[in-house]
C-alpha cells in the first residue's frame, strides 16, 4: 500500500514539478509559491486561475489522445454489449464500493447527517440491493451523494490553488491532487496487500473509467463540436461544477461575476 501511495504521490509531485518548470523563466520555487498565493487572491469571480496553462494544455492533449484512441472506443464497445439496466447495475455497484471513502469524508467534514445517509445506503444496498447492483436506498428516499478528500480539504479551508490538469486523472487543482492521494489512502482495498486485492483494484479502476465515460460519449462530443477552445470550455465547466460539489449543492449566487458592468456602453447607443 505504501508503495502505491508513494507512486501516486511521486506522479503528482512530478506533474506539479513539471508545471513548475513551465514557469522557470520567472524563477523556480519562488514563482511556484507566488502562483499559489495569487490563486488565493483571485478576485475575478467565475474565472479559473490557470498560471500553468502551457503544461496543462500539453497534458490535456495527451489525455485527449488516449481518450479518443482507447477510452471512447472501449466505452462504445461496452455500450454495444450491455443493456442499459446492466450498465446502471455496474454504476451502482461501483458507487457502492466507493461508499467507505465517501463515509470517511462525510465524517471529516462534520456532515453527520450525510454520513448517516451514506452508512444507511451502504447497509441497504449491500443487502437487499444484491451487493450494490440495485439502489433500493434511492427509492426509499436516501439519494446518493459524492464526496472526496479534495472536498474535505476545501471544507477545512485549504484553498484550491491553481488549476491543474493531471495525466490520466484529468482536470483538478493542486488541492484536488492531494485529495486524490488521500482518497486512495482511505480506500479499504488499498489496505489489503494481496494479489487478489491488487487485481480487484485495477479492474475496478478500469471499469470505473468505462462506466463514467459511457454516459458522456455524446455530451462531451457535443461540447467539443460547439466550442472554439475545448480546453478552456472544459476547464470552465469543471471549475463551476466543482465549486457546487464542494458546497454540497447549496447554491451561492453571490460568487457569480457581475454581468451588468457595461452600463457605460448603454450610453453609447
Amino acid at each position: 500500500m505504501k508503495k502505491l501511495i508513494w507512486t501516486i504521490t511521486g506522479l503528482f509531485a512530478l506533474s506539479t514539478g513539471a508545471a513548475q518548470a513551465q514557469i522557470s523563466d520567472a524563477g523556480g520555487a519562488d514563482a511556484f509559491a507566488e502562483d499559489l498565493k495569487n490563486a488565493n487572491a483571485q478576485v475575478d469571480a467565475g474565472a479559473v486561475y490557470d498560471p500553468w496553462e502551457g503544461f496543462n494544455r500539453k497534458m490535456f492533449s495527451v489525455n485527449n489522445a488516449i481518450d479518443k484512441a482507447v477510452l471512447v472506443p472501449a466505452a462504445k464497445g461496452y455500450r454495444a454489449v450491455t443493456h442499459k439496466k446492466q450498465r446502471k447495475g455496474l454504476r451502482n455497484l461501483l458507487a457502492n464500493a466507493r461508499t467507505p471513502v465517501i463515509l470517511i469524508n462525510d465524517i471529516l467534514q462534520g456532515e453527520f447527517k450525510r454520513a448517516g445517509q451514506t452508512a444507511g445506503r451502504f447497509a441497504i444496498n449491500t443487502t437487499i440491493g444484491f451487493g450494490g447492483m440495485g439502489d433500493p436506498a434511492e427509492r426509499i428516499g436516501v439519494p446518493q451523494h459524492a464526496e472526496d478528500f479534495g472536498q474535505t480539504l476545501a471544507v477545512w479551508g485549504v484553498n484550491s490553488g491553481p488549476y491543474l490538469y493531471l495525466p490520466l486523472f484529468g482536470p483538478s487543482s493542486v488541492r484536488g491532487g492531494f485529495g486524490a492521494v488521500g482518497d486512495i489512502a482511505m480506500d479499504p482495498l488499498t489496505w489489503i496487500r494481496t494479489d487478489a486485492a491488487a487485481l480487484t483494484r485495477y479492474s475496478r479502476a478500469g471499469s470505473t473509467a468505462l462506466a463514467l465515460r459511457e454516459p458522456l460519449i455524446e455530451p462531451l462530443a457535443d461540447i467539443e463540436a460547439n466550442s472554439l477552445d475545448y480546453y478552456a470550455s472544459l476547464r470552465s465547466f469543471y471549475w463551476q461544477s466543482r465549486t457546487r460539489e464542494i458546497a454540497n449543492g447549496r447554491t451561492n449566487f453571490d460568487d457569480l461575476p457581475d454581468i451588468g458592468d457595461f452600463e457605460e456602453f448603454d450610453e453609447l447607443e
Binding site: L228, D229, S233, Q240, T251, I259, D266
Partner: protein, 207 residues
C-alpha cells in the same frame, strides 16, 4: 436532541439570522413572472415532435428575450473595452448566432418537458436569478432534479432581459467568457487576438 445541541442549533440559527438581516436576498416577482411567461411561450416548441420546430421556436424566443449585446460584451471579459468599433460591429452579430446555436443545443435536451418557475433570488435590484424545474419529469429522467437557472437583468428603463442560463450552477455565458478570453489571450491579445476570435466564430457559425 440533547440540551447542548439544542442550544447550539439556536445559536446557529441566530447567527444565520443576523446575516439575513444584513443582506436581504429577496425574491423578485416581476422577474419570476417574466421568466414564467417565456417558459409558457416555449412549451409548444419544446413539446413539439419535430426538431425543426423546436430549433426555430428557440431561436425566435432567444431573439425576443435574450439581451445578446450585454452577454456578448460580458463574454469578452476585460477585453470588451479594448475592441475597436469595427471589431465590435463584426463581433456582436457573430456572437448572437453562436450563442443562439448554444441555446438551441442546450434547450433541445429538454424536449418534451415543461419547465416552471420555482423561485428567485436577487443579487441586486438589477440582477436577478430565477430558478425553474421540470414539471412531472419522465420517470428515471436525469433532468428530474435539475434546477434550471435564468439570469435576468433589469436595465435602466426597467426592461427585463435574459442574460444567462444555467443548470445546477453551471452557466453558459461564464463558460463562453472562459473560452473567448482564452482565445484572445492565446492569439497575442488585442487587437490580433480579437480578430482571431472573430475568425473562429465565423467558422463555427457557418458550419
Amino acid at each position: 436532541m440533547s440540551a447542548m445541541t439544542k442550544v447550539k442549533s439556536i445559536a446557529v440559527a441566530l447567527f444565520a439570522g443576523s446575516f439575513l438581516a444584513v443582506s436581504p436576498a429577496i425574491a423578485d416577482d416581476e422577474a419570476e413572472q417574466f421568466i414564467q411567461a417565456v417558459l409558457d411561450e416555449a412549451e409548444p416548441y419544446l413539446t413539439s415532435e419535430e426538431e425543426q420546430i423546436q430549433f426555430d421556436g428557440i431561436k425566435q424566443l432567444v431573439d425576443k428575450y435574450v439581451d445578446m449585446r450585454r452577454v456578448g460584451l460580458f463574454t469578452l471579459g476585460q477585453y470588451a473595452r479594448q475592441m475597436t468599433p469595427e471589431q465590435k460591429e463584426t463581433y456582436l452579430p457573430l456572437f448572437k448566432d453562436y450563442a443562439t446555436q448554444i441555446y438551441q443545443n442546450s434547450l433541445s435536451n429538454y424536449a418534451g418537458e415543461r419547465l416552471t418557475v420555482t423561485g428567485s433570488i436577487d443579487r441586486s435590484e438589477r440582477d436577478i436569478i430565477v430558478n425553474s424545474k421540470i414539471v412531472n419529469p419522465q420517470p428515471g429522467s436525469q433532468l428530474a432534479d435539475m434546477v434550471v437557472h435564468w439570469r435576468v437583468y433589469r436595465d435602466r428603463d426597467g426592461n427585463l432581459g435574459v442574460v444567462d442560463a444555467g443548470a445546477d450552477n453551471i452557466w453558459l455565458a461564464i463558460e463562453q467568457r472562459s473560452q473567448f478570453t482564452s482565445v484572445i489571450a492565446n492569439n497575442g491579445g488585442p487587437p490580433a487576438g480579437i480578430n482571431a476570435l472573430i475568425d473562429q466564430l465565423k467558422k463555427q457559425t457557418s458550419e
